[in-house]
């Protein structure tokens, strides 16, 4: 099928028409602010989609590039007075593109490895994690660096190699089991969503999440059958695969009979919470998807509902926070992480100017659009360094890696560290004990 026809099929025309072109989205859009170009704004992109659907233009290379340039941060959604679901329109567009446009062979290869052969298979990810750990610990990494083999990579990938956390091949369920009982008064039963890459690259954050939840009074179940959330798939146009992953997760958590589903990654959480929209045309799964979506909570919400994390050892540091776009614009979690940080005794919380603006990470955006991502990161780090904070907290693994890269690039290493909010709280908890 041709892209034009496919777009006409996948795009929700009603939703396109709901954009009244008031332009209120534009000040919130990072790519519009960088370029000042109407087509690089949400209003412009919707106009392009509608123009294709109306037969006013062909979906040419410029069209494809413009859809790729969008970060998908969805900062346009909360400010849209007409309530247009821009993220949905973008994913529908990308789905049509993914199904009809033939990428260069190497992009096809990467997409196939990542989306089909890696992310949906948790055991393969653990094996990759063990490989990474071997690379980092065996001296191989040192060797590679000494012989400057990394020069073969583009600069932004070299940077990523430098800040990659230590890989881990131990599944969360091996570290803590599949059930951790609540401490003290019981508040409910939480299913822990461990994520795919999260469990390999940020194993300790997952362990800490489970501990904090149990401490806050939740029974924590970790259904081992769960899989990748499908967010990277959906954002890249692989919605059919995302739907299959969604079904596996719904089945796993329904069997576990949980009250809540906890996420510690805004990027995953936002899609988990939108499983109902992802599966709305699937009669068989629609109801179960609604059950699942209504139970998804960010870790910060669950902790605050339980009265916060207490007691904590004082942290005599200056702390700032860079928000996760999908946590805020997708899950509508706006102030909870900051409130948890402000409650840390001894810590001085300094708000980050434009903490609600994308850092440029945006899933795999920083890998495929290094130029725009680099501009956004540079601006971000200017604001970050002005806070003079010692600790930069985030609540999504992609943002965390990007912030680490930013600190590396800005030469702030040694003066500032980037951490996941959960790890910071867990550390203060441990020290109290």
């Amino acid at each position: 099928m041709q892209l034009t026809d496919k777009l006409k099929q996948t795009l929700d025309y009603e939703e396109l028409s709901n954009c009244m072109r008031c332009g209120f989205c534009q000040p919130a859009c990072p790519t519009f602010r960088e370029t000042g170009y109407e087509a690089a704004s949400p209003r412009g992109r919707i106009a392009l989609m509608k123009a294709v659907a109306d037969g006013l233009m062909e979906p040419d290379q410029d069209f494809l590039d413009q859809m790729s340039l969008c970060l998908g941060c969805r900062a346009c959604e909360p400010v849209c007075p007409a309530g247009v679901h821009y993220g949905q329109l973008l994913e529908q567009t990308r789905e049509a593109i993914a199904e009809t446009v033939r990428h260069p062979w190497w992009v096809r290869m990467i997409r196939s490895i990542v989306f089909t052969h890696l992310l949906p298979h948790q055991h393969r990810l653990y094996r990759a994690g063990r490989l990474l750990r071997f690379y980092q610990r065996s001296g191989l990494q040192k060797l590679v660096r000494r012989f400057k083999l990394l020069k073969l990579l583009p600069a932004h990938l070299r940077e990523m190699e430098a800040i990659l956390p230590e890989g881990n091949g131990t599944p969360l369920t091996e570290a803590v089991g599949t059930f951790v009982p609540a401490e003290g008064e019981r508040r409910g039963r939480v299913g822990m969503f461990r994520g795919c890459i999260m469990d390999v690259m940020f194993h300790d954050t997952n362990v800490n999440t489970v501990k904090l939840l149990a401490r806050a009074g939740y029974d924590v179940v970790i259904p081992p059958e769960q899989t990748c959330c499908g967010a990277l798939h959906a954002h890249s146009g692989e919605r059919p695969q995302a739907r299959e992953l969604a079904k596996r997760n719904i089945r796993a958590f329904q069997a576990a009979e949980v009250d809540y589903i906890a996420s510690n990654a805004g990027g995953c959480g936002a899609l988990l919470q939108e499983y109902d929209m992802l599966l709305e045309d699937d009669r068989e799964w629609r109801e179960a998807a609604g059950w699942f979506a209504s139970r998804v909570r960010d870790i910060s919400e669950l902790l605050l509902d339980a009265g916060g994390v207490t007691p904590l050892a004082p942290i005599q540091r200056r702390i700032t926070y860079q928000g996760s776009c999908h946590l805020r614009n997708g899950m509508h979690v706006t102030t909870q992480p900051q409130r948890l940080l402000q409650a840390i005794p001894g810590a001085e919380y300094v708000p980050l100017f434009e903490a609600d603006r994308c850092c440029g990470s945006a899933g795999i955006y920083n890998l495929v659009q290094p130029q725009m991502a680099g501009r956004l990161l540079q601006e971000k780090m200017e604001h970050v360094s002005r806070t003079k904070a010692d600790i930069l907290a985030t609540s999504n693994p992609g943002c965390l890696l990007q912030m680490k890269a930013g600190i590396h690039r800005a030469g702030l290493e040694g003066r500032m560290t980037a951490v996941h909010l959960v790890d910071l709280l867990a550390e203060a908890c441990r020290e109290k004990e």
Binding site: S17, N18, M20, R21, P27, Y37, A47, A51, F63
Partner: protein, 476 residues
């Protein structure tokens, strides 16, 4: 649509550079619309000059090849003022976005046209100064667009509108010549007032490339209050009575029930959705005077059967109320796919009869019209929620609005208070101006732009709509 001579294209690309002279389909689509519903037309070229000199050069080329030029800022206007109906060049001025000078001796600010209105506010308020015009689109719109359309805003009642704050302009004429009008002067009667003529000229006379704005000291305090009414007419009468009591509030906004409900659904701020109307009343100035005015206003509201009055207790609370009001139009668009907003304006003493007439007309044509607006200055925004695909309904909407325009003129008002004429109001302009008035304006246009290159197809319609005769008796 006329095809742009390829020679002209080559010259323009050489002048501006490939990156700022675009004719790819993506760019043509992106600059084919503004915030006006149901209006779209593709230009032949999008040009983004970086300074006055480049604007002048573009105009020299355009006039040599007789190519229409449509100047555009942020594209937030509601009269299709920047839709390139005749094709040609869309001239985007948002690269010219520098604040050039703040003169604290003369209290003026000199800016390029692409500066965002909101950024002007932030910039001058930090220095204790104030630029009052505050159109609802101000977080997006540019000052050049505000000047070209003569934008109003919520503070129009007390402070006036954009036209009252433009002291001087630099502009490029269709032949490429650069003129300067006015200056940092409060008094200047040297010849015709070209500054005022260009304000609100909708890009049909010249291209504004620089503006000197008047600033005033920032008021010390601002207070906002809500007054709720179970009866629509009582609310409208309160508006007239506040003014009759010699109080000029900084804002005096009217929101009807339909609007309240959608605004509240968009931003949960605790507006009472069971009320027939709410007045948002704001005052600014010295603390003592503001407190006195607000107390007096509250009393007038109660005398006019206000069910409740509520004073915002913090700046944050006040800002929320004002933001909700500013979002009214866009929030209304959630109800139906197409939202048509008009701005019929009447002398403020006629607000009550006008609101009643709007309700009557909506019922008559079986269309849904919510009304909000700057009731203090008589500028109402009857807003119709419809669906452009339902042609029968859209036709009834048009008839309803025609009758609303006619009613506004009958009450001594006008067809547009702050949105401009553009394409959508052009067929009704003669109703307001009369034939002689239109002819005079056309002659002014010819004097500036003999080849009709600047924003053709706007302001003057090919044909004036037949005047609706309102005969209430016949309706019954």
């Amino acid at each position: 649509m006329r095809m742009l001579a390829s020679q002209a294209k080559t010259e323009l690309k050489a002048l501006l550079g490939e990156a700022y002279c675009l004719d790819k389909p993506e760019a043509l689509v992106a600059y084919s619309y503004d915030a006006t519903p149901m209006q779209q037309a593709l230009p032949d070229l999008v040009a983004m000059p970086k300074d006055t000199q480049e604007v002048s050069e573009v105009m020299k080329i355009a006039s040599r090849y007789k190519i229409p030029v449509i100047t555009r800022g942020a594209g937030t206007n509601l009269c299709a003022g920047t839709v390139p109906v005749t094709g040609g060049i869309v001239l985007v001025l948002n690269r010219m976005n520098r604040i050039l000078e703040l003169d604290e001796q003369n209290l003026t600010l000199t800016v390029q046209p692409g500066v965002r209105t909101k950024d002007i506010h932030a910039y001058v308020e930090e220095k204790g100064l104030f630029y009052p015009p505050d159109p609802s689109s101000m977080t997006v719109s540019t000052i050049g667009g505000n000047i070209a359309l003569g934008s109003g805003g919520l503070r129009g009642l007390k402070y006036g509108t954009t036209k009252d704050y433009v002291l001087g302009l630099e502009a490029v004429l269709p032949n490429g010549e650069i003129i300067r009008t006015g200056g940092k002067l409060m008094k200047d009667v040297a010849g015709y007032d070209l500054t005022k003529l260009l304000v609100g000229s909708e890009g049909t006379l010249a291209i504004i490339t620089e503006a000197t704005l008047k600033l005033i000291p920032k008021p010390a305090v601002q207070r906002v209050m809500l007054a709720m009414f179970a009866d629509l007419t009582a609310a409208a009468k309160t508006v007239s009575e506040i003014i009759a009591n010699r109080i000029i509030p900084a804002t005096l906004e009217f929101i009807d029930q339909g609007t309240i409900r959608v605004v509240e659904a968009f931003k949960l701020i605790g507006l009472p959705t069971d009320m027939a109307a709410i007045l948002v009343i704001g005052q600014d100035g010295e603390q003592e005077a503001v407190e006195r005015d607000m107390a007096k206003i509250a009393e007038i509201c109660r005398q006019n059967q206000a069910v409740q009055t509520r004073l915002a207790h913090s700046d944050a609370e006040a800002e929320e109320v004002m933001t909700a009001r500013r979002s009214a139009l866009a929030a209304l668009s959630r109800l139906r796919p197409t939202t048509i907003l008009e701005d019929a304006t009447v002398p403020r003493a006629q607000v009550a009869p006008m609101i009643e007439a709007i309700q009557h007309i909506a019922e008559k044509y079986r269309v849904q019209i919510c009304t909000f607006g700057h009731a203090g200055d008589g500028n109402l925004h009857p807003t119709c929620m419809t669906d452009a695909r339902d042609h029968a309904e859209v036709e009834r909407v048009e008839q309803a609005f025609e009758e609303i325009f006619a009613k506004a003129i009958e009450l001594g008002g006008t067809i547009t208070g702050e949105h401009g004429v553009g394409i959508v109001k052009a067929p009704y302009l003669e109703w307001k101006l009369g034939r002689a008035g239109i002819e005079l304006m056309k002659n002014i246009k010819r004097a500036f732009d003999p080849d009709n290159l600047l924003n053709p197809g706007k302001m003057f319609a090919k044909e004036t709509r037949k005047r609706v005769v309102i005969d209430r008796a016949a309706d019954r």
